[in-house]
Symmetry: C2
Subunit: 531 residues, 2 copies
């Protein structure tokens, strides 16, 4: 699977890369091409009224989709059994902590050595406010949430060929870009160059608004003064007592900002899925999946590797092997089967579904991505640079550094997301042994934070095409594959039904898994009740 | 003091009001006029080396400035005594909780009836990342911090004469404003209207950047599609399973956005003091002051109302009355006196300082502001509207509604900041009895959240000109008063020295109090050591 996957990237990151880095038009094409997605249509807990008449459902996979389906079907009166490949639940909703051990495809094993209380989320790591499905399950299962910080104005924007390779602060790039375009538009308007595009009356309000937006002075200049420094930061901050007067800083020219391409990162926080207020579970993303697993209890059977799915006119038989007993195939049977196994794996199993569903299962390639978690001996980003959570961006292969959004001000250690590589970068990264991925992330990151050299402690890395239970990060749709295959993928195929982020318009997000599961169980239930 | 104060507003809010609402030039003038401020020059704990030779210091006021000075002077070896008017420390760094009782000037008493765990900060409520002084004290005193959310893209923007009085989401106003100006500038550039202002080469990058910034399509239009909906929100969000395709929403025209004046609120989160990541102490702003008070221990004597300050060549004598014993004047004496009492009160005391300091003390009027805290029976803003923390803006006299940045997803109650009025609105509000302020805040807020009518539970309100120990919100400087009086206010006047937010370039912020105290004790110490 790894070697045959197409040039892939997660949708989000592909969008970030081509859209934000290469401009709106490219982004638009990409979004259209990927069958874009953003937010939830969840309107509250579902109610499955009516008698399931003792029907049984076999659910394959105890990830978020499988567990949501299990909880809802049990509540509706179904007999439910969940087969899970791993020794624990959650699937890609996964958190690595000290003491964990992870063996990837290829055989490399990582012993995670993070300190107590430290963690790294190789998969999902943030929840938008508009993902109401997963948020509601978190609330109902009493999972504590805290804000995830996407935009941090004090974080870095780094370009290897920009500003002599020296990182700038996000606030400097943002303020100078906003100020530069506001000055251009305000002056053009004042000079009558927009006549025909804007009425004189609107032009006056436009100029007024641009002064506010861009911190322009009365002559419509974006220039060195306290007004612009109160956006981009001061040369010397205001203080207290004597000698406390602030000294303004010198803005960069719009020409330099444009050439730096640092503007490419400014749109990220404006995207519907990255807007404020985002959340993360306190203690790691898998806290939601763990709570779901506790709720599911003994419905879930662990260490079951599915090897085949066969339906007949009376039910579905699933063949599986227990971990440690290869070749000893056992069977489970139920009236219906809901498979939440990633298509990257499902496409390799023998199963007797209709031609259209079989074609759909084969049609969706999986995105590549690599994350690296780096434990640092000291939270130097807070102590030295006053960066609290949020993301620094770079054009290096690590693409970004994310700072932990918890433990603010702690004098202890901290785990950075030291790389989140995708597309071609992810292939290169994935091909390396885990410790080499970590080594390179440290080497590259040191170009932004030289403290890495002193402070790096221990790391972990996950290349999603080497994850045995996923074989990729997420299903990648295009407009063409959506049109041809999506409905066939989601439709109930006699007694077999699919769910997961791949069966949604919100790929790569837990919300897609939740909503697809809710839709699947609702349709299954209607079938059972009306049968 | 209340009746004689000039047309005043807190600097921040004046800036928000005139700057954001009326445009950049007005804002620039206002910032210059107010002697602008934003951030810290704190570089870490101070060290007061050298022998204080047994010197004693009497500190007046156990607010943040007084307690910082007390902790540092004690550490340096001084004998320190702090006289505090109230029964507890913190001054304006104040949090109201259930069971508290507060009597304002005029005699109205409020019995606070918030539930356990609920609170309302009448004074400071947020800490910028660049206020490193107060943050460092919080860290060193082990005060847990959590993110304060300033911008929430899903919060409301409401204008009584905009959009038929119906609130819009911040994301809609922001996206449509950004898209509208990006379209204008991109098209002007493409049409050659900016020739002479931008080179052809820069123009190409500019257009590319505007596509990214404004979500423009390949024809440079900001129009109804998935790209713009992934900023402003969808008509129907993407979902999972069948019938899950998203439906784009229709943007507002730039003309309508300009006329609405909703753009005026967009710059707020870009200001240096409101940028991400901001903080609040877990449990209420006074948690920092409470930790300082514990650290100060019996240095602080409570219930001491200072009535006079007299210095001579050997020391300073402070006359005070104990609460409950009016007219029974007692005396305290020390080698030096550091007065952190607000100028609004200090200006009414007899004290023998030099002419220039006396003039400075009289020169600074105090800003008016009113806050109202409203406990709601249910967190409807989260449950019904998916607004988690952050601020909704309105042109109603309440000016804003802030949603609590803690307890996310709780099924219990929550306390909103139901009004933060300033300037003329604050006078009007302050003149009302407390329960009437609350009643009006509920009435006005219901125009944005109709749920107020059902869900309002209990409220509290503080008009700062009626707060006995402050007589106003903060010292208001102008360029002219700064030039004439600021250095005289801060200079050591023989044996008397002042500190507090009023003695800083960061008025109205705790950081101003911290930095002015550190500067004051440093200068005092140099005098003592070199004497």
């Amino acid at each position: 699977m790894d070697s045959t996957s197409p040039p892939a990237a997660t949708r989000r990151d592909l969008l970030t890369r081509i859209g934000l880095a290469a401009g709106g038009a490219a982004m638009y094409q990409a979004m259209t091409a990927l069958g874009v997605s953003a937010a939830s249509t969840y309107t509250g807990p579902i109610r499955l009224d009516g008698d399931p008449k003792g029907a049984s459902v076999l659910i394959l996979g105890a990830g978020v989709a499988g567990m949501v389906a299990a909880m809802e079907l049990r509540k509706a009166g179904y007999r439910v059994q969940v087969l899970e490949y791993r020794e624990k639940a959650g699937g890609r909703a996964w958190t690595l902590r000290g003491g964990d051990r992870y063996t990837e495809l290829g055989g490399a094993t990582q012993e995670i050595r993070f300190d107590e209380g430290q963690y790294f989320n190789p998969g999902p790591w943030r929840i938008p406010y508009n993902h109401q499905g997963i948020l509601d399950y978190a609330h109902r299962l009493n999972v504590a949430l805290e804000p995830f910080i996407q935009v941090n104005h004090n974080a870095m924007v780094h370009g290897t060929r920009a500003f002599g390779g020296r990182p700038k602060r996000y606030r400097e790039v943002m303020s100078d870009y906003h100020g530069g375009i506001a000055e251009l538009l305000a002056k053009s308007t004042r000079q009558g160059k927009l006549d025909g595009m804007v009425t004189k009356e609107d032009g006056e309000i436009l100029i007024e608004s641009l002064r506010s937006f861009g911190a322009l002075d009365r002559d419509l200049n974006y220039t060195k003064n306290v007004l612009t420094s109160d956006r981009r930061g001061f040369e010397k901050d205001p203080g207290g007592g004597l000698n406390a007067r602030p000294v303004p800083s010198e803005p960069m020219s719009l020409k330099d900002v444009l050439a730096s391409r640092g503007w490419a990162y400014l749109a990220s926080g404006a995207l519907y899925e990255f807007q404020m207020t985002m959340f993360q579970p306190v203690g790691g993303m898998d806290m939601i999946a763990q709570a779901m697993a506790r709720e599911c209890g003994d419905m879930i059977q662990y260490n079951r590797k599915v090897v085949g799915i066969q339906q007949d006119e009376r039910g579905v038989t699933v063949a599986f092997e227990e971990t440690g007993r290869p070749g000893q195939v056992q069977q489970a049977r139920a009236d219906y089967c809901l498979a939440t196994i990633p298509l990257s794996i499902l496409s390799q199993l023998e199963m007797n579904v209709s031609g259209p569903m079989a074609a759909a299962i084969q049609a969706v390639p999986y995105a590549a991505s690599v994350k690296v978690g780096l434990q640092m001996k000291r939270r130097f980003w807070e102590q030295d640079e006053h960066i609290y959570a949020g993301i620094s961006y770079t054009d290096l292969p690590i693409r970004m550094i994310q700072y932990p959004a918890h433990g603010y001000g702690s004098r202890g250690k901290g785990v950075l997301l030291g790389a989140y590589a995708f597309g071609p970068y992810a292939y290169e990264f994935t091909a390396l042994p885990p410790e080499e991925r970590v080594r390179r992330a440290v080497e590259w990151g040191a170009q932004i934070h030289p403290q890495y050299r002193e402070e790096f402690d221990t790391g972990a890395s996950v290349g999603w095409h080497r994850v045995p239970w996923a074989l990729g990060c997420n299903g990648m749709w295009t407009d063409a594959t959506r049109a041809e295959h999506y409905d066939n993928l989601c439709a109930l195929d006699n007694r077999i039904l699919l769910a997961g982020e791949h069966a949604s318009y919100i790929p790569a997000w837990q919300e897609g898994a939740v909503l697809s599961a809710l839709d699947a169980v609702s349709r299954l239930h209607r079938r059972v009740v009306s049968a």
